[in-house]
Point group: C2
Chain length 375, copies 2
C-alpha cells in the first residue's frame, strides 16, 4: 500500500494547512514534527518511547545507513522497519545534505558527487540513481530525490546552475525509482531568491512527485527573514494537494512560521542534541539544566507536559545530576521530553488551524516561550 | 520498617542457602545478584527497566554520591529512593573500595583516609563515621561499614594490621549509625589466609551487625582458588541467621562457587560494562556482538531469555550496528539482557538449592557456558 496524503483544511488567515497521511503503519495528521533517527535509532530512545512521544513519522539518514551497516544488510533484514524494529512510518533523506556537509565533497560533476567517507576516509561516489536505489532497499515510506545543497554563501549565479542540475538529478532519480510502497519527493532549492525558487519548484513539479521538500533553509542562514522567504517562495509554486516538507527545521518559531507559509512536515536533530547538552524545552523557553539553580529543584521539567519524564516525576535535580555525571539516562529523559515538546507544539498548531487562530497562537507562543524568561 | 532476613533452607550437599529479605519496598529471595547504580542510576536503564529485569535490590556508591551531587542534595530530596525515583531496595557501599582503587589514598591513618577527589583533584578525608553519616542521609536499606581494601599484593603482616584497623573502624561506624530503617553490615577481610579471615569474621561478629560482607575478593586475585578460599574462610565463621554478601563478584562461575560456600548477595558492574563493549552473556557463553559473523544475524541474542531485548526480538545484527555506531540504545539493550542473565542465573540457583541439586546445576552450567563454544 502506498502512503496517501489528504489535504483536510486550509486556515482562514494564512497558508497553514491541516492534512493527514495514511500509511500501512497507521494514519497521522500534519503539520507534524519528525524526530531524527540517523543511525536507525532515535538517539537514546527505544521504539516504544518513539511511539510514546506520539511521533507520527520519523526520519532516518540514507548516507549513514549506506556507510554502516550498508543497505544490503537492511534489505536482507526485510527493510528498515524490520531492521530497527519500528512499525511506524519512516522518511529517508537522500544523503545529499550529509555528502555536502559532513563528508565535504571532493568533486561535484553532472554524474554525481565524489567525497570522502567521514568514518574511514575512503573515496565514495554518490549519484541520483544510487541514492534512490539505496532508499528503495531501505524500504522507507517516503524517499527524497538527490539534490545539491549549496552553502548559504553561494552566489545567485552558482545557485542558478545548481538548481538546474538538481532538476536534472531529480529526473534521473525518478527514472530508477522502483519501490511502489514508497512516496518519492522532489526538492526545491534556490536560496532566498524568489525567481530561483519559482523556477526550481515549477520544474520539479513538472517532473511530478508525491510531495516536495524545501531545502537550503536550515543551515547558516543570514537571517530568519531569508528562511521564511525561502518557505514562502517555494510553497507558493507548489500544488496544494501534495505534501510539503521543510528539511532540518526544529526551532519552535521556525516551525510555526513554516506552517503559516504552508509547510506540513519538519525534522531536526535539535531536541536530542539539546538533550545531550542538558537543555530542556519548556513552554516558558529553553532551560539549561546544568545551571546551579536546579541543584535542589525537585520539581519536574514542566507542569503541563505529558511526556514520560514529566509524568513519572523525574526531578530537575535528578536529571541535572545525571547530565553532570554524563549518565545516558539523563540524555534519554531530556530527549523524550524535548521531542514530545516539539510534537506537542504541532498538536497545538493543528488545533489552532482547526480554529483558524494560528496567528493568535503564534503571538501567545512567542510571548510565553521567547519572553524575557528565556535563558 | 527495618529490612529483615530469614534463612529458609540450607542445601543438602553444600553450604548454599535459600533466604528472603523483607523490606518496605517488597520482598525478594536470596541468593540474588545486585545490578550496580554507581551514580544513582543503573547505567542506561530506567527504573521500570530495573524492575523488569527482576532485580531484587540494587547497589549504589557512597563515594560517588558524596562527591556528586552530595549527600545533602539527596537528603533534601527525601533520600536516594526519592532522588533516583526508585521504589525498590537499595544497598550502599561504604566508599572504602573507591577511595582505595579510584581515588588512590594519599595517607591512611587510624583516623581515616586522606585522598584526592578523582573528579577535581581536591583533597578529601573519609572516616568510618563520615561514611556512615553519608549513608544514613542517603537512606539506603543496607549500609556498609567503612573498611580498608588492601591490594592483592599486601603481605600477611600488612593484612593482619589492616584487619585490626578495619575492626576498630567497624566499631566506630556502628556507634554513629542512627538510621533505624537501615541494616548495617560489617566487613570481613584477610586475603586468602584462613586465620586472618577467621579473626576478622569473629571480631566483626562480636561487634554485632545485621549482615556481613566479604571484601578483598574481587580484585587482582592471583587465582580463583584464593577467591573461593576467601569465601569459605569467611562464611565458615559467620552466623547462619545473618546475610552474607560477596562484594564485586559477577562472573557466573564465581557466583555459583560463592553460593556453594554460603553467600547470599553479589554485585558487579560487569553486565553493564560488558554491554558497553558489545559483549552479551548467553547460556552458551559470552559473545562479542561486534564480530563480523553477526552482521546479518537476524536472530535474537538468546532463544531462552525473557528479557525485554530478546522478547522484543531485537536482532543481533541490529544490536551490532548500534554498538558499532556507538548508539546508546545498543548498550541499553545489552545491559538489560546481561543484567537479566545474571539475575536469571540466581533464579536457577535458587531452584537448584530447593532441589538440593546445586552441584549438578554447576556441572551443567559449566558445560554449557564455559564449553569450547565460548569466544
Amino acid at each position: 500500500m502506498k502512503i496517501e496524503y489528504t489535504l483536510l483544511k486550509e486556515e482562514k488567515n494564512t497558508s497553514a494547512r491541516l492534512g493527514n497521511i495514511k500509511t500501512k503503519y497507521g494514519t497521522f495528521e500534519t503539520p507534524m514534527f519528525m524526530p531524527v533517527g540517523t543511525e536507525a535509532t532515535v538517539k537514546t530512545l527505544s521504539v516504544e518511547e518513539i511511539k510514546d512521544v506520539h511521533a507520527g513519522i520519523i526520519l532516518s539518514n540514507t548516507y549513514h545507513l549506506w556507510l554502516r551497516p550498508g543497505e544490503d544488510v537492511i534489505d536482507h533484514a526485510g527493510g528498515l522497519h524490520e531492521f530497527m524494529h519500528y512499525n511506524g512510518p519512516i522518511l529517508t533523506d537522500s544523503g545529499g545534505f550529509q555528502v555536502f556537509s559532513l563528508a565535504k565533497p571532493k568533486d561535484i560533476t553532472e554524474e554525481g558527487v565524489l567525497f570522502k567517507n567521514h568514518i574511514n576516509g575512503d573515496k565514495l561516489f554518490l549519484t541520483p540513481e544510487k541514492s534512490i536505489e539505496i532508499q528503495n532497499k531501505l524500504d522507507s515510506d517516503i524517499a527524497m530525490s538527490f539534490d545539491e545543497c549549496p552553502p548559504a554563501s553561494a552566489t545567485y549565479e552558482y545557485l542558478k546552475q545548481s538548481i538546474e542540475r538538481t532538476v536534472r538529478w531529480a529526473k534521473r532519480g525518478k527514472l530508477v525509482h522502483k519501490n511502489e510502497n514508497q512516496m518519492l519527493f522532489g526538492i526545491v532549492q534556490g536560496g532566498p531568491y524568489e525567481d530561483l525558487r519559482k523556477w526550481s519548484a515549477e520544474e520539479t513539479v513538472k517532473i511530478g512527485f508525491d510531495g516536495y521538500s524545501i531545502g537550503g533553509v536550515a543551515n547558516d542562514h543570514e537571517s530568519k527573514e531569508d528562511m521564511y522567504k525561502a518557505f514562502e517562495f517555494s510553497t507558493k509554486y507548489l500544488p496544494k494537494n501534495k505534501l510539503r516538507y521543510a528539511m532540518g527545521i526544529g526551532e519552535p518559531i521556525d516551525i510555526i512560521e513554516g506552517v503559516i507559509r504552508g509547510i506540513d512536515l519538519f525534522d531536526c536533530v535539535s531536541p536530542t542534541r539539546l538533550a545531550r547538552h542538558g537543555h530542556a524545552l519548556t513552554k516558558y523557553g529553553k532551560i539549561n539544566i546544568k545551571n546551579a539553580q536546579y541543584k535542589e529543584d525537585f520539581s519536574t521539567l514542566s507542569l503541563d507536559c505529558d511526556c514520560y519524564t514529566c509524568q513519572s516525576k523525574y526531578s530537575k535535580a535528578y536529571i541535572r545530576h545525571l547530565i553532570v555525571a554524563n549518565e545516558t539516562l539523563g540524555a534519554r529523559l531530556l530527549s523524550i521530553h524535548n521531542i514530545r515538546f516539539l510534537i506537542h507544539l504541532t498538536e497545538e498548531i493543528r488545533l489552532a488551524i482547526k480554529n483558524d487562530s494560528i496567528l493568535e497562537y503564534k503571538e501567545q507562543f512567542i510571548k510565553d516561550y521567547y519572553g524575557d524568561k528565556n535563558e
